[in-house]
């Protein structure tokens, strides 16, 4: 048996990125951003899209939360809970790499 990957748990120090099999793309026909993955196409809402766009392989989760809280003029704690839950869900589906 080879060494296997393990489930990753999101922390403020995680640096999320999109894996190679996932990409965000503007669809001119539907005039919306799509997330393309091997079998599924997702249509993220504006906030989800904002999170995914910040998954650039350089920014930490803490950094992403601070940026979004500033942009949406929202409580950092509330934003943190939403962002962490979102990233954990997408990581569990292998749509975000941590």
């Amino acid at each position: 048996m080879v060494a296997l990957r393990e489930r990753t748990i999101v922390s403020l120090r995680s640096v999320p990125s999109l894996p190679k099999h996932v990409r965000i793309q503007y669809d001119p026909v539907r005039q919306a951003f799509a997330v393309l993955s091997p079998e599924k196409v997702f249509w993220p809402n504006e906030i989800s899209l904002d999170i995914l766009r910040r998954c650039d392989g350089r920014s930490t989760v803490g950094h992403i939360i601070a940026g979004l809280a500033a942009e949406y003029d929202a409580e950092q704690e509330a934003v943190a809970a939403d962002v962490i839950a979102f990233l954990q869900e997408w990581s569990d589906k292998l749509l975000v790499k941590l």
């Binding site: 990957r5 393990e6 489930r7 894996p19 190679k20 099999h21 026909v29 091997p38 196409v41």
Partner: protein
């Protein structure tokens, strides 16, 4: 009807019916097309370009065995240039040195590799090709080395249902992101081989428990998609996501179809790309409009709260079992002939007991089945 007409998202391109394997459940039609009926490179590229204009975001390049097309690199590059997500569905046998790397360089997004068994003897017997398992393992390694994301596809039936835990281990050891445990559905070649392929009810139930437990245990490690067998179901599947709703397929000769088995519905006439544009076929083809949306439905579908969940299920299964393509899919417990599914399971079991039919596959070959009444 017009409010239901959405642009298609996905397209399955069956580039060829040629294949080195002879799996007895192949989803290709019984009457396979020879190489001289296949569209040429430029026609496929034109079709892909029209598909992208129409709104197609993902193209699954399939067959037969798509790598037998020598122009596959060109086709991938054409799709990639239009930003279309490309998924290569391959048996992974005899792919020449350097080609997998060339597919990746052309812009291939993802590779899906089939395994007929988790054990070499099973893979070799089901595909009727000695040494195929080892070649597939090598293809998986080459795909990973080329940086391609990988799905392992495992079609499940009576002869490999006990190997499901081994399929999971194998997908993990190959570094796959995804595993499809897809139970064979009885259309096309699988319908011809139904007696030999039908699993036992207890094995189906055990399999579902194993997969559910693995999905939980391996969350964030590997995605396991499970396609349960229709004959054992309570509700039907939304076949192709609904007839002509957001996906379609194209046969090697350019015939545009709502699904794999659509040509088994004798009342429908299908059009070929070239005779009409893709947009015209998607929008106006009487065959595409025949079961689009919910207007065509009768009871019990018509007033069912699930009518926009499963879209009435599979039209071809309704044709095959109810003898009427507009009937409710018999896989649904609300179908008046749902009990027929259980009867068919029992009948196949008796046939196996009487005749050892489970050892006798009709292997998929070009020319084995020719046109008949």
């Amino acid at each position: 009807m017009s409010e239901l007409l959405l642009p298609p998202i996905g397209m399955l391109a069956e580039l060829t019916h040629r294949c080195p394997l002879q799996c007895p459940y192949c989803s290709n039609p019984l009457e396979l097309l020879k190489a001289n009926r296949e569209l040429d490179t430029q026609t496929w590229l034109d079709l892909f370009s029209q598909a992208a204009n129409l709104g197609v975001l993902q193209v699954h390049l399939s067959g037969g065995e798509p790598t037998l097309r020598r122009d596959l690199e060109q086709l991938i590059a054409g799709l990639s240039a239009r930003g279309v997500y490309t998924n290569l569905i391959t048996a992974g046998i005899n792919i020449a040195e350097g080609r997998i790397e060339a597919f990746a360089e052309a812009g291939l997004d993802h590779l899906q590799l089939s395994f007929q068994g988790a054990r070499p003897a099973t893979t070799d017997r089901i595909g009727n090709h000695r040494g195929s398992h080892e070649k597939k393992l090598e293809t998986a390694r080459r795909a990973r080395a080329a940086g391609l994301p990988l799905t392992i596809n495992a079609p499940i039936h009576r002869h490999n249902i006990e190997e499901v835990p081994e399929f999971i281990d194998m997908a993990l050891s190959l570094g796959a992101e995804r595993l499809e445990i897809a139970n064979v559905q009885y259309a096309g070649w699988a319908l011809a081989n139904r007696n030999a392929l039908m699993p036992e009810r207890a094995a189906v139930e055990r399999q579902a428990e194993i997969v559910t437990a693995a999905q939980e245990r391996l969350a964030g490690v590997i995605n396991i998609d499970f396609v349960p067998p229709d004959y054992f179901a309570i509700y039907p599947k939304p076949c192709m996501g609904g007839w002509a709703r957001d996906a379609f397929m194209v046969a090697p000769d350019g015939t545009v179809l709502p699904c794999h088995a659509a040509q088994t519905i004798p009342s429908l006439r299908f059009e070929r790309f070239g005779e009409r544009t893709l947009a015209e076929i998607w929008t106006d083809s009487p065959a595409f409009n025949a079961f689009r949306g919910t207007e065509w439905m009768r009871e019990p579908c018509r007033s069912c709260e699930r009518r926009e969940v499963d879209w009435g299920g599979c039209r071809c299964q309704a044709m095959a079992i109810a003898g009427d393509a507009a009937a409710t899919d018999p896989a649904c417990s609300k179908s008046p002939i749902h009990a027929r599914m259980a009867t068919l399971i029992d009948e196949t079991r008796r046939a196996v007991a009487d005749t050892a039919a489970d050892e006798a596959f009709i292997y998929r070959r070009i020319g084995v089945v020719t046109e008949s009444a």
